[in-house]
C-alpha cells in the first residue's frame, strides 16, 4: 500500500471519500434496490410492504449523498466543480430522479385512487433506477477518463459519457444495489413479499455476476492499465478479494444454507469490495483526462488547503461515529418484520 494513503491528509481524504461512497451505497443502496423491484410485481401488498420496510430510514440514508457531496466540495473542491459541471445533464437527471423518488414515496399512499397510485409507481421506479444506473456510469467515466482541459473545461456532451465501459458499470451498480435491497427485504418481510424477494435475489445475483464479468472483460480488453495499481501495490488486492468473498457468501447463505437473515452481510461485503476496488484502481486520480495525462485531477492537485482538510478530518472523526451510533440505534428500534399495514400515510 502506498504510504501516502494513510500518512498524508490528501491520502486520508481519498480513503474517506471512498468510505462516504461505501456509506452511501450500503445505506441508500438498499432503498434504491428495493425500489428497483417496485414495478416487477403488481401485488399491492408486496409493494406496500417493501415501501414500509424502508419508510423509517430512507430519509436518513439519503443524507449520505448530501454529506458525501459536501465532503467532496470541502476536501476536493476542484473535483467537485469539474465533475459536476462536466456531468451537467447526467447530474441533473440524477437530481430529478431523486426528487421524484422522495416525493413519490411521500405522496403515493396519500390517496386511494388507482390512477394516482399508478403514476406515482412509475415515478417511484424511475426515481430508483435512474440514480442507480447513472452512479455507475459516472464512476465509470471518471475512471476511464473524459475530455477535460487544464482548466477542467469539459469538451463533450451527454453522449460522450455513454461509452461501453461506463454503461456496463451502470449495470453493475444497478445489480449491486438490487442484491443489497433484496437482502434487506429478506430480513424485513414475510409471506408473499418474502417469497418475491427470494426470487428477485437469485435473479439479481446472476445479473450482478454476469455484469461484473462482462465489465471486467471489457476493461481487460480496452483499459487494462486500470489493473496496474494492483500489481504496484499488492495490498490493494484486499478490495477485489472482499468482493469475491461477498459474492461467494451471498450464494452460500441464499441458496446453499438458506440463512436469509445473513444475506445482507454478504451483500454489504460485496458492495464494500466493489466500490473500493474501483477507487483503488483509480488512485491517485479522481478524474482522468483523455486529452492529456497532465490534466488528470488527482488527490494532489485538486484538494483544499491542509487547514481545511485538518478541520474536516477532526470533525469527521468526531461526528461520523456519533452518526453511525444513533443510526444503528434507530435500526435496532425498528428491528423485525414489517407488513403492508402501518406506515403513517394511512
Amino acid at each position: 500500500m502506498p504510504m501516502e494513503l494513510i500518512t498524508t491528509l490528501n491520502g486520508i481524504w481519498f480513503l474517506l471519500a471512498g468510505i462516504f461512497l461505501v456509506g452511501y451505497s450500503l445505506t441508500d443502496g438498499f432503498d434504491l434496490g428495493s425500489g428497483i423491484l417496485h414495478i416487477f410485481t403488481k401485488d399491492e401488498e408486496i409493494r406496500l410492504t417493501n415501501m414500509n420496510a424502508i419508510a423509517p430510514v430512507w430519509d436518513g440514508n439519503e443524507v449520505w449523498l448530501i454529506a458525501g457531496g459536501g465532503m467532496l466540495f470541502a476536501a476536493f473542491p476542484i473535483v467537485y466543480a469539474v465533475s459536476f459541471s462536466a456531468f451537467y445533464l447526467a447530474m441533473f437527471l440524477v437530481l430529478w430522479a431523486l426528487i421524484l423518488r422522495a416525493v413519490a414515496f411521500e405522496y403515493r399512499n396519500k390517496k386511494d385512487s388507482p390512477t394516482w397510485k399508478k403514476w406515482w409507481d412509475i415515478a417511484y421506479w424511475i426515481g430508483n433506477i435512474v440514480p442507480a444506473f447513472l452512479f455507475g456510469v459516472a464512476v465509470g467515466n471518471a475512471v476511464i477518463g473524459i475530455p477535460i482541459d487544464e482548466k477542467g473545461v469539459f469538451y463533450g456532451n451527454l453522449f460522450t459519457l455513454l461509452k461501453p465501459i461506463p454503461i456496463l458499470m451502470g449495470f453493475v451498480s444497478v445489480f449491486m444495489f438490487l442484491i443489497h435491497g433484496v437482502a434487506y427485504l429478506l430480513i424485513k418481510t414475510e409471506g408473499k413479499a418474502f417469497e418475491f424477494a427470494k426470487k428477485a435475489a437469485i435473479i439479481g445475483f446472476v445479473g450482478y455476476v454476469v455484469s461484473v464479468a462482462v465489465a471486467d472483460f471489457f476493461i481487460i480488453a480496452l483499459k487494462s492499465e486500470l489493473f496496474n495499481n494492483f500489481f504496484d501495490y499488492p495490498l490493494f488486492w484486499i478490495a477485489p478479494i472482499l468482493m469475491i468473498i461477498g459474492v461467494f457468501l451471498y450464494f452460500k447463505w441464499l441458496v446453499v444454507d438458506e440463512k436469509y437473515d445473513k444475506v445482507i452481510y454478504a451483500s454489504s461485503i460485496t458492495i464494500t469490495g466493489t466500490v473500493l476496488t474501483i477507487a483503488l484502481a483509480s488512485y491517485p486520480v479522481f478524474i482522468r483526462s483523455t486529452i492529456d495525462e497532465k490534466y488528470n485531477l488527482t488527490i494532489w492537485n485538486s484538494s483544499s488547503s491542509d487547514l481545511t482538510l485538518t478541520i474536516m478530518l477532526v470533525s469527521t472523526l468526531i461526528f461520523l461515529p456519533i452518526v453511525i451510533g444513533y443510526t444503528t440505534y434507530v435500526y435496532k428500534v425498528f428491528k423485525g418484520k414489517v407488513s403492508a399495514k402501518g406506515g403513517y400515510g394511512h
Binding site: I66, G70, L89, W96, L98, I99, A102
Partner: protein
C-alpha cells in the same frame, strides 16, 4: 452566448433557492414547536399534547420531504452551474456544507423516522428526545448554511493564492471565517422568521378547525400554544431586524443604500417609507420621510452620514484603481526580493491586488434592480410589524375570552398563513439581490463565477426544473390540505375523540376539564 448562460444560471439558482426556501422556514420553527409540545406531554401526560405533536410532525414530514429534495439540488448546483465559484471558494465554502450534512442533516432525518414510526416502540422520554433532535438538527442546519452565506456577504479569515486551476481563497482562520460579524444575527433573524412562519401556520390550521367546529378542544390547545410561541417570536424579530440593519450598514454599505433607496449621500438621513425608484436618473421619489431615523437606526447617531449609491460606486472604482496601480509596484519589489518569506508576502499582495482591482471595478450599470431590493426589503419590514400587530390583537382576544369564537378574526389567522412565507422570500430576495454585482462581496463578481456550460444545457435544466418544481408545489399543497382536512388521529382518551367530522361534539369526561384550561 456567455451572457445567456450566465443569465440562465442566475435564474436557475434563483428559482431553486426560492423554491427550497418555501419549505425551510416552516421546518425551522415547527421542529422547535413540536419539541416544546412533546415536552409538555412528557411533563403533564395530557394526551392532547401528544396528539398535537404527532399531527404536526406528519405535516412536518410532508414539508421536509420536498425540502430535502430541493436542498439536494442546491448543494449540487454550486458544482454544476457555478463551478468557477466553487473552485475559488471551495476551501472555505465546502466545509460548512459538509458539516451541515454530518452534524445536522443526519440528526434531523434519522430522528424524524424515529419520531413518526417509533411511538410505542420507544419510551415517551426517547420519543420527546427525538423531537428535540429533529429541532436541533434543523437549527444546526440553518446555522451552517448561514455561516456559508455570511462568508459570501462579509468574507473573513482567508487569503488569496494562485493555484494551477486559477485563483483560490484559502482558509487561514476557521473561527474568523465561520463566525464573522454578521453570522450570528443572520442566524437569529432567519431562525426567528422560521418560528413566526411555523407559529402562523399552526395558528391558521387550528383557527380553521375552530371555524369548522372540528376537533374543537384539540384546536383550542394548539392555537393557544402557537399564539404564545408566535408572540415571543414576532416581538423579538423587531429587535433582530434592527440589529441586522445596523450590521449591514457597517459591513455592506452599498446594500444598505439599495435597501433604503438612497442614491445621494445624506447626513442625518431620513427613513423613507413609500416611494418610487428611478434607477435611470439616479433618484427616488419618496412620500413619507421620517427625518434622522435612518441615521439613528443604522449608526445609532441622528447626525451620522449614510452614503448614497452613486458615491459608493465611485468609492469602489477608486479602490479598484488603487489596487491596479499597486500591481506594477509589487511586481517590481517581487523581482528584487531575495528573502523567501518576503517573496511569499509580496506574492500574496500581488494576488490580492489583481483580484480586488478586477472585482471592485464595478460600474453603475452592473447594479441589480434597486427598485426590487428596495421594495422587497420594505415589504418584509411592513409584514414584520403586521405580524406583531396580529398576535397582540390575538393575545388581547384570548385574555378577553373571545379568541375562539370570533369567526372574523379566526379567518384572518387562516388567511395569514402565507404571509410569513412571503416575508421570508422577500427578505431573502433583498439580501441576495442586494449583494450583487458580487457573489462574494468585493472578491468575486457573479458574472465571473459561472460554469463553462453551454447555454442550451442550462436552458434545458432550468425548464425541466421549473416544470418539476411547479408540479411538486401543487402536489405539496394538495397533500398538506388533505392531511389538514383529515385532521389528527386522536387517541381514545382525548377530549375530542367523540367529535365526528360533521362537527357534533360528543361528551366525554375530559371535555369540561380541558375546556376550563382553554380559557
Amino acid at each position: 452566448m456567455d451572457l445567456d448562460a450566465l443569465t440562465l444560471a442566475r435564474w436557475q439558482f434563483g428559482a431553486t433557492a426560492f423554491f427550497h426556501f418555501i419549505y425551510v422556514p416552516l421546518t425551522l420553527g415547527l421542529g422547535i414547536l413540536i419539541a416544546i409540545i412533546e415536552t409538555l406531554y412528557l411533563k403533564t401526560k395530557k394526551q392532547v399534547y401528544s396528539d398535537l405533536a404527532m399531527f404536526l410532525m406528519k405535516l412536518f414530514a410532508i414539508n421536509f420531504a420536498v425540502g430535502v429534495a430541493s436542498g439536494l439540488t442546491m448543494e449540487f448546483e454550486f458544482g454544476t452551474n457555478w463551478s468557477e465559484y466553487s473552485k475559488l471558494v471551495g476551501d472555505i465554502f465546502g466545509a460548512p456544507l459538509a458539516l451541515e450534512g454530518l452534524t445536522a442533516f443526519f440528526l434531523e432525518s434519522t430522528f424524524i423516522g424515529l419520531f413518526l414510526f417509533g411511538k410505542g416502540r420507544v419510551s415517551d422520554k426517547v420519543h420527546a428526545f427525538s423531537a428535540w433532535m429533529v429541532a436541533i438538527g434543523g437549527s444546526l442546519s440553518a446555522l451552517w448554511i448561514l455561516i456559508a452565506n455570511s462568508w459570501q456577504q462579509t468574507p473573513e479569515g482567508y487569503r488569496l493564492v494562485e493555484s494551477p486551476q486559477g485563483i483560490k481563497a484559502e482558509l487561514t482562520d476557521f473561527l474568523a471565517a465561520a463566525w464573522n460579524h454578521t453570522t450570528w444575527i443572520r442566524f437569529l433573524h432567519t431562525v426567528d422568521a422560521g418560528f413566526i412562519t411555523a407559529g402562523f401556520f399552526v395558528m391558521g390550521v387550528m383557527a380553521f378547525y375552530l371555524i369548522k367546529k372540528r376537533h374543537v378542544e384539540f384546536a383550542k390547545v394548539g392555537l393557544k400554544i402557537a399564539l404564545i410561541f408566535t408572540t415571543i417570536a414576532s416581538l423579538i424579530q423587531i429587535l433582530f431586524g434592527d440589529l441586522h440593519g445596523y450590521l449591514v450598514a457597517h459591513h455592506q454599505p452599498l446594500k444598505l443604500a439599495m435597501f433604503e433607496g438612497k442614491f445621494q449621500t445624506e447626513k442625518g438621513a431620513s427613513l423613507d417609507l413609500f416611494g418610487v425608484i428611478d434607477q435611470e436618473h439616479h433618484q427616488s421619489r419618496m412620500i413619507i420621510k421620517i427625518p434622522y431615523l435612518l441615521s439613528i437606526l443604522s449608526y445609532h447617531d441622528p447626525n451620522a452620514e449614510v452614503k448614497g449609491i452613486d458615491d459608493l460606486v465611485k468609492e469602489y472604482q477608486e479602490k479598484a484603481k488603487e489596487y491596479e496601480s499597486k500591481i506594477p509596484v509589487i511586481k517590481e519589489k517581487l523581482a528584487q526580493a531575495t528573502n523567501p518569506e518576503e517573496k511569499q508576502k509580496l506574492q500574496d499582495q500581488l494576488v490580492e491586488a489583481k483580484i480586488k482591482a478586477h472585482a471592485l471595478n464595478i460600474k453603475y450599470e452592473d447594479l441589480p434592480s434597486i427598485a426590487l431590493v428596495f421594495t422587497t426589503f420594505h415589504l418584509m419590514v411592513y409584514l414584520g410589524f403586521l405580524f406583531a400587530l396580529i398576535v397582540l390583537i390575538a393575545l388581547w382576544k384570548l385574555k378577553r375570552g373571545t379568541l375562539y369564537n370570533s369567526k372574523g378574526f379566526l379567518w384572518i389567522l387562516v388567511l395569514s398563513i402565507p404571509l410569513p412565507y412571503i416575508a421570508s422570500e422577500l427578505g431573502w430576495i433583498s439580501t441576495e439581490v442586494g449583494r450583487q454585482p458580487w457573489i462574494v462581496y468585493g472578491i468575486l463578481k457573479t458574472a465571473d463565477a459561472v460554469s463553462p456550460v453551454p447555454a442550451a444545457n442550462v436552458a434545458l435544466s432550468l425548464t425541466v426544473f421549473t416544470i418539476i418544481y411547479t408540479i411538486l408545489f401543487i402536489v405539496f399543497v394538495y397533500a398538506m390540505v388533505r392531511a389538514i382536512n383529515k385532521g389528527p388521529n386522536l387517541s381514545p382518551s382525548s377530549p375530542d375523540y367523540n367529535t365526528n367530522a360533521a362537527g357534533n361534539v360528543g361528551v366525554s369526561t375530559a371535555f369540561s376539564q380541558i375546556n376550563k384550561e382553554g380559557r
